[in-house]
Symmetry: C2
Subunit: 317 residues, 2 copies
């Protein structure tokens, strides 16, 4: 009996995660590489191809035995053409690049391209926390704050990019977001914004955040660093994360009021690392902005770090 295997790759600003999955979403192989910071999209494409090859090897198959390969990329994507227009957080990727065709030539397999958050939502819908649910809001809390919508049994995309919960306004006239708008949830809750804010606070108040980063030889504040600082009772970390949770609460509560979903699924680098206690805090922060009673059920994403790659493996051209 031949098992139908697919490759899936999640491309992020920090790492490239490849997996090999079965029809039912079981992971039978994987490989991870650091995202190259030089060479632009062509270098990233090279490393994606390498990661897929390594993942296939770890699953005991060859790339040519894979049915297809899917790639979830950050930013705006034209799935039909396989083009990634501008990959947020990937150094040097500011112009459209035909990632799909490039990889097809390299790998000799059909390659489909999708948005990273969108594929992660699809993975949760099929195999994770959204299984058996007609409607849910997926929120991915990491460097940015992304989201996805499953409504009335289907993953909906609007004109193509629905789910930008991180750029909903939580404070009119509030803090400037990297996207150019003001008062976005991401400007308060995204890891990039949190770090920027922490650097400013560090000039005025004592914080262990950057000390931990130095000890861990990190040049940015990872989720783990924030958690360690909280454990040490760091007030700056606590204040900023409180503010982040409040902002997420407004955006999520308003989204639930608009969408009337059954579930809210929280994932992403920070979301998953913070765990159930913070899930409850987010739920409490959303309650004052939630019109419906009973409110939806809040759950953590189930597929963790591999969700994006698993979701990417579901993509078909």
């Amino acid at each position: 009996m031949t098992v139908l295997l697919r490759g899936g790759v999640d491309v992020g600003g920090t790492k490239i995660q490849a997996v090999i999955t079965t029809r039912r979403g079981r992971v039978v192989g994987g490989a991870r590489r650091v995202t190259p910071r030089e060479g632009g999209p062509a270098a990233v494409a090279d490393d994606i191809a390498l990661a897929v090859t390594e993942a296939a090897t770890s699953a005991g198959v060859r790339v040519r035995e894979l049915r297809s390969v899917g790639v979830g990329a950050p930013g705006h994507v034209d799935g039909a053409a396989g083009v990634v227009f501008k990959a947020a957080n990937i150094v040097g990727w500011s112009e459209p690049f035909a990632l799909g065709p490039t990889l097809e030539q390299r790998l000799g397999r059909p390659v489909a391209i999708g948005n990273d958050v969108s594929v992660a939502v699809e993975a949760e819908r099929r195999f994770g926390a959204g299984r058996g649910v007609r409607s849910f809001l997926g929120v991915f809390w990491g460097t940015g704050v992304g989201g996805g919508l499953v409504l009335d049994g289907r993953h909906v995309v609007g004109r193509g990019s629905a789910g930008e919960i991180g750029h909903m306004c939580v404070k009119p006239g509030g803090r400037r977001c990297a996207c150019g708008l003001r008062g976005c949830a991401e400007a308060y809750a995204g890891r990039a914004a949190l770090e920027q804010r922490a650097r400013r606070e560090a000039r005025k108040r004592k914080t262990v955040l950057f000390e931990i980063a130095r000890k861990r030889e990190r040049d940015s504040l990872t989720s783990g660093i924030w958690i360690r600082a909280l454990e040490q009772g760091d007030q700056v970390a606590r204040d900023l994360l409180d503010e982040a949770v409040d902002a997420l609460g407004v955006a999520i509560g308003s989204s639930v009021t608009l969408l009337d979903v059954e579930r809210v699924v929280i994932g992403g680098g920070i979301g998953e690392r913070l765990g159930p206690k913070w899930l409850t805090r987010i739920e409490r922060a959303a309650a004052p902005h939630t019109f419906f009673s009973p409110p939806p059920v809040y759950v953590l994403a189930e597929l963790g770090d591999l969700g994006g790659a698993i979701g990417a493996s579901l993509l078909t051209r």
Copy 2:
């Protein structure tokens, strides 16, 4: 050739509007009655039956020739059971009432019950401003602020009541809304909230709003009164409507950011009366909160006052 006709009724706090429609949504008859303010839901059901009968007569048919009758009611509705739980704005309707079965007995035709905003969105999708569009956000700006979502070609409802854009938070910790939450768009933009606020302002500042209402022998501030006051340069009317538009801008902009719709369709009592100039103002107020570029196209609802009744006629059991 027999023409297939259906009855549709829009039940509001002020009036009961019945229409007779063809398969293609053309209105071939209609009747309007004032919503009874005494006698509760049973009295309202009586008047709905009368309105349907009058509408049928005006179309030259008998009620028993209608294929079916649909009723759009405000508030929470159980379509399958034909029950309206609590009809917002209808005096004395605070308990669940089996409107569907009651009307079926009275009219001798199958009767379907739906939510008033939801049927109005469906009418716009099929025959109005949402025709030929894969995704739009419907916003009904009247006594309250309701909404509906058409995404990826389908009218989506979540757990059943999606679209409550009026209760999205536009100002955390802001004005108390009639729903109990704080900072809802409706607390700034709904006609009921606007009137309450105008009464308070009238103690401090000069306004012609209540003078016009007295002359017109109205005990509440209708859309027409607001428009007249604006024409007379009334500063209170201007300030409050500016604030209303700003609040709608935050809610609509954030909704567009979440949904990535092609169009925003503005209707409802105030929305329609204010016309294209205000449509542009709403669009401008939403722009600073809209993540996507180009933004969606803003249009007025096309079916006007009859949209709810036409939409109700589409309901089937």
